[in-house]
């Protein structure tokens, strides 16, 4: 694939949140949702439709892959779950997006918008 991570920026917010949620471990859909809600302090709750539409697109774009359920993860209600794992490409895309956001933040600070570090 010749697509560079930069050419896909900016990422839709939902996509970025999902990537962040998958950064440290493989998760299934509901876990992603819960993680996003927890991380944002309840500010953002992804709807099921938005979640799976994003997942579908991210699978196509190669950001994530589907993996078999890890035995170490406790099963919730015995339901069969699909787990998603971030790919190296997904990581570099997430990193590129983070860089972009940091750059934006720097620019905003320089013009006196945002509060500086403590």
């Amino acid at each position: 694939m010749t697509t560079t991570p930069e050419s896909l920026l900016p990422l839709p917010p939902a996509t970025f949140h999902i990537l962040v949620a998958l950064a440290d471990e493989d998760r299934h859909g509901y876990a992603i949702m819960q993680d996003v809600t927890a991380r944002t302090g309840g500010e953002l709750t992804l709807g099921a439709g938005t979640l799976y539409r994003s997942i579908q697109r991210m699978l196509e774009q190669g950001f994530i892959v589907e993996v078999r359920a890890r035995q170490s993860t406790p099963l919730i209600n015995d339901e069969r779950r699909r787990y998603y794992r971030i790919t190296p490409f997904g990581r570099s895309v997430a990193r590129a997006e983070t860089r972009r956001l940091a750059q934006m933040l720097k620019l905003a600070r320089a013009s006196g918008f945002a509060p500086g570090k403590a």
Partner: protein
């Protein structure tokens, strides 16, 4: 939970299949977490909104993908795509054009307020059916009738106008004061005629029209630069000054779409006295709540009273009341419907052809589709993709078709006779665009669905087989479907060809009709002698003698004469014929047309003199009253005799027959004419039969007519400088005008038929070539086993002939019925016209041969070794 699953159906099946379970599970969690009815309600509202938005987004994603895929595959199959798009464009274009015309002519309300209350009024007699109204009857009936809000009348007129450039001949109308109010229109600028007196009876001996004028919008813009100060200005028409009192709104045009000015109608006492002088067209506006049938009943009572009051003049005169909408003649109606039928035939063929194209393509893509199914593509996704592809083709074709229609409609508009009372031309509006869109969709479905059904119905098994066997598998079922499609194409094109053929034959029949005179080398022009200057017979005689003598002296001129009205130009002028022992009546067929002529008229037009003599300069008011009559006159009134010497009463005078000439077609080539009576011009009494005063000049010459015209104009100008000369044209133009609209119509139909024919041939070719390519191995084996070339040839030919034959036979039957519905247009050609049917059968066989030729040659060239090795 069930509700949520139902909601999930908004997503495409593929997406639902993939993630539905997971989403349901998530929902279950959230439902459990929601405590209290408010949280529960909020959850549901949030979920419903989210589902709708995302479902649409997912659909859109898929559509975009399919679109890209379609664009890719179609660019790869560029030839196929171009053919398909062109064919759709042809079908949609032809039908959109035909529809916009049909809609405009037949279905749209007339451009007048409450147009369904407008009716036309006519006199009716047993002999001639519908006639215009005489001024006196119009006047009486208008006053007596109570069914109408308003009744007005008009008669057409044309005038010379010299604007900024070339002199032009304008068409317009004399209208009574109540006509505009009856139509429900008023001037855009200034006013129309004030009511009060509906029309004026001119003082005896004057011939002046009221010198006020209402202009049509096109004329106002063209000749006066849309000058808003025009009211009150003087405009000269045919050398007479008129004061402009009003300008009509843009779309208004009445009575024809060529009419551009209106002058108040006024009548001479002589005209008014003559109840047999019918030239007014009556228009009434029914009172609200009055129905057409009750108006008819009332008017027939009114007409009956007139019959009692004027037993002689109004004998047998009844009244006809028709809805204005129905005035468009039956012929134009049939023609517009025939056009639509032809367009539909073309569309049918187009759909069949496209279905064929796509079927062949679907067969060729079996492997591709099978591979994709094997790799996990759901059936729903494949169907969707193919449908998107058809839609893309149809949309592109439809857009191109609309473009075609935009170009074609103005051409087709020329076919509709000018008698539609509006100057607007059918444009591309929402209705027409909507129609085109629906048509495109229908086409897409019609041709796109058939292949879909056959490619997807057979299930995974067939797909796997397709993968395994590749293109060798012959879908017998598909083959049959394609055969049926070709049969439909042949059928439709046969119907179109025969219908066109019948109309061509009708056109030829009419063109071949002998008008009764020889139109070649004859120049005609009109010089209406103004009254009262020429009221006296002596004054007129002096004018005619001088002009005719000088014209005859021009080198190359072999004859010149004046007549009241040229044949085919003015058909009326009908009078009752009285025979000894039976008074003049207008009842039954006891009538004839009256024309005053100068000597030499018959020889100028090469109308054969059968017996007796021409009218002569010696036939004057002081000698015996005589007439020359047509053969049909003698046949009808003196059937046992040669006619010469008999006396009959005609126009209040007893006349004796001195000559018999051949019949001419006074009423044009398509209608039969009444017998003709020609009266010597010197026997037109002072101030009588003013409307019949000879005004049409015919000049027969061997020199080019364009060179002749200025010389004749000069002579008339010298004889009377104030006399306008108009309608200068060769007699052949008058004859051609008789068949002009018909020949254009036939040409358009022939265009449709040609397209249909071509498409059908392409269809046959497609099916047979495909069949041959499918059977290549089989044919190879046959050849290897010793089959002769002749056998192979016969095999392929037989298939072609069978297809064509199956379409031809029902096509012939259908065409016969189509011909029967067109009978009013056929001018006596029978719907079962043998030459036409023969020609079409021949053409169709030729088409079959043409379509079969290439595939057959290919079959013959099959090399058995290669064909079998390819296995």
């Amino acid at each position: 939970m069930r509700a949520y699953r139902a909601l999930l159906h908004l997503y495409p099946a593929s997406f639902r299949g993939e993630y539905g379970e997971e989403m349901a599970a998530i929902f279950r969690h959230r439902l459990r977490d929601a405590d209290g009815p408010f949280a529960w309600l909020a959850l549901w509202i949030g979920v419903a909104g989210e589902t709708i938005v995302n479902a649409l987004a997912v659909h859109w994603d898929i559509f975009r993908q399919d679109l890209q895929y379609a664009a890719r595959t179609l660019t790869r199959a560029r030839g196929f795509a171009a053919t398909a798009i062109l064919i759709v464009a042809l079908g949609v274009g032809a039908n959109t054009a035909a529809f916009s015309l049909t809609d405009f002519v037949l279905f749209r309300p007339l451009p007048f307020p409450d147009a369904n209350r407008l009716v036309t009024l006519w006199e009716r007699t047993l002999g001639y059916g519908r006639l215009q109204l005489s001024p006196a009857n119009y006047h009486d009936w208008r006053l007596a009738a109570t069914s109408f809000e308003r009744v007005g009348a008009y008669t057409t007129v044309s005038k010379n106008f010299v604007g900024n450039g070339e002199p032009e001949r304008l068409e317009g109308a004399f209208v009574t004061a109540d006509l505009f109010p009856a139509l429900g229109v008023s001037a855009a600028l200034g006013r129309t005629y004030s009511a009060g007196q509906d029309f004026r009876i001119l003082p005896n001996g004057t011939d002046g029209e009221d010198a006020i004028l209402v202009l049509g919008d096109p004329l106002w813009r063209r000749a006066f630069g849309a000058d808003t100060e025009i009211i009150g200005r003087t405009v000269v028409l045919s050398e007479r000054p008129f004061t402009v009192i009003g300008v009509m709104p843009p779309a208004f045009s009445f009575p024809t779409r060529k009419a551009e000015f209106w002058i108040p109608y006024a009548v001479t006492p002589g005209d008014y006295a003559d109840r047999g002088n019918n030239y007014l067209y009556g228009i009434g506006r029914l009172k609200p709540g009055v129905t057409l049938s009750s108006a008819r009943i009332e008017m027939s009572v009114v007409a009956a009273r007139s019959r009692q009051q004027y037993p002689k003049e109004n004998e047998g005169i009844d009244v006809t009341v028709n809805a204005f909408r129905d005035e468009l003649s039956q012929q134009s109606r049939t023609m517009v419907l025939a056009l639509s039928g032809a367009a539909l035939c073309v569309l049918l063929i187009v759909c069949a052809n496209l279905a064929n194209l796509l079927l062949a393509r679907a067969l060729a893509r079996r492997q591709e589709l099978a591979v994709r199914t094997a790799m996990g593509a759901g059936r729903e996704r494949l169907v969707r993709q193919l449908a998107t592809e058809s839609l893309v083709l149809a949309a592109l074709g439809g857009a191109l078709g609309v473009l075609v229609a935009v170009l074609v409609v103005p051409l087709l508009w020329q076919l509709v006779p000018a008698n539609l009372p509006t100057s607007a031309t059918p444009g591309l509006d929402l209705r027409v665009l909507g129609f085109a869109a629906v048509l495109t969709l229908v086409t897409a479905l019609a041709f796109g669905l058939a292949p879909l059904v056959t490619t997807t119905r057979r299930g995974a098994d067939a797909d796997v087989r397709g993968l395994r066997e590749g293109a060798r598998a012959i879908g017998g079922h598909k083959e049959r479907l394609r055969g049926v499609l070709v049969i439909v194409e042949v059928l439709a094109s046969v119907v179109l060809l025969i219908t066109t053929g019948l109309l061509v034959r009708a056109l030829w029949t009419i063109q071949a009709r002998d008008p009764g005179f020889r139109p070649d080398g004859i120049l005609t022009m009109r010089t209406a002698l103004p009254m009262p200057r020429y009221a006296r017979t002596a004054a007129r005689t002096a004018f005619y003698t001088r002009v005719l003598d000088e014209v005859r002296a021009i080198p190359g001129v072999s004859g010149a004469a004046y007549i009241s009205f040229l044949p085919m130009v003015v058909p009326g002028g009908i009078w009752g014929v009285g025979l000894p022992g039976r008074p003049a009546e207008r009842r039954d067929q006891a009538t004839a047309s009256m024309r005053f002529v100068t000597p030499g008229f018959f020889s100028s037009l090469k109308i054969p003199l059968r017996r007796g003599r021409d009218v002569s300069e010696l036939d004057t008011m002081t000698t015996q009253m005589v007439a020359v009559v047509s053969e049909s006159f003698v046949k009808r009134y003196f059937p046992d005799d040669e006619g010469i010497g008999h006396t009959f009463t005609f126009g209040f005078t007893d006349r004796s027959i001195v000559g018999v000439v051949a019949d001419i077609r006074v009423r044009g080539l398509e209608r039969s004419s009444e017998p003709q009576v020609y009266v010597p011009y010197r026997q037109q009494p002072d101030s009588s039969f003013v409307g019949y005063t000879p005004k049409d000049l015919v000049v027969t010459a061997s020199t080019p007519l364009e060179q002749l015209a200025p010389a004749v104009r000069g002579i008339i100008g010298k004889a009377d400088p104030r006399l306008p000369v108009s309608d200068v044209r060769p007699m052949t133009d008058i004859i051609d005008a008789e068949t002009a609209s018909r020949s254009v119509q036939v040409r358009v139909l022939a265009g449709f038929a040609f397209v249909a024919f071509l498409l059908a041939a392409i269809g046959i070719h497609g099916v047979l070539s495909f069949a041959v390519s499918q059977r290549t191995p089989e044919i190879g084996v046959r050849i290897a086993l010793g089959a002769q070339r002749g056998d192979i040839l016969g095999m392929v030919l037989k298939q072609g002939v069978a297809l064509v034959g199956a379409g031809l036979l029902p096509g012939l039957a259908l065409a016969y019925f189509a011909g029967r519905t067109l009978q009013t247009l056929l001018a006596g050609v029978t719907p079962a016209d043998l030459p036409t049917f023969g020609a079409v059968i021949g053409l169709t066989l030729l088409m079959a041969l043409g379509g079969t030729l290439l595939p057959t040659l290919r079959a013959l060239r099959i090399d058995p070794i290669k064909a079998i090795r390819a296995e």
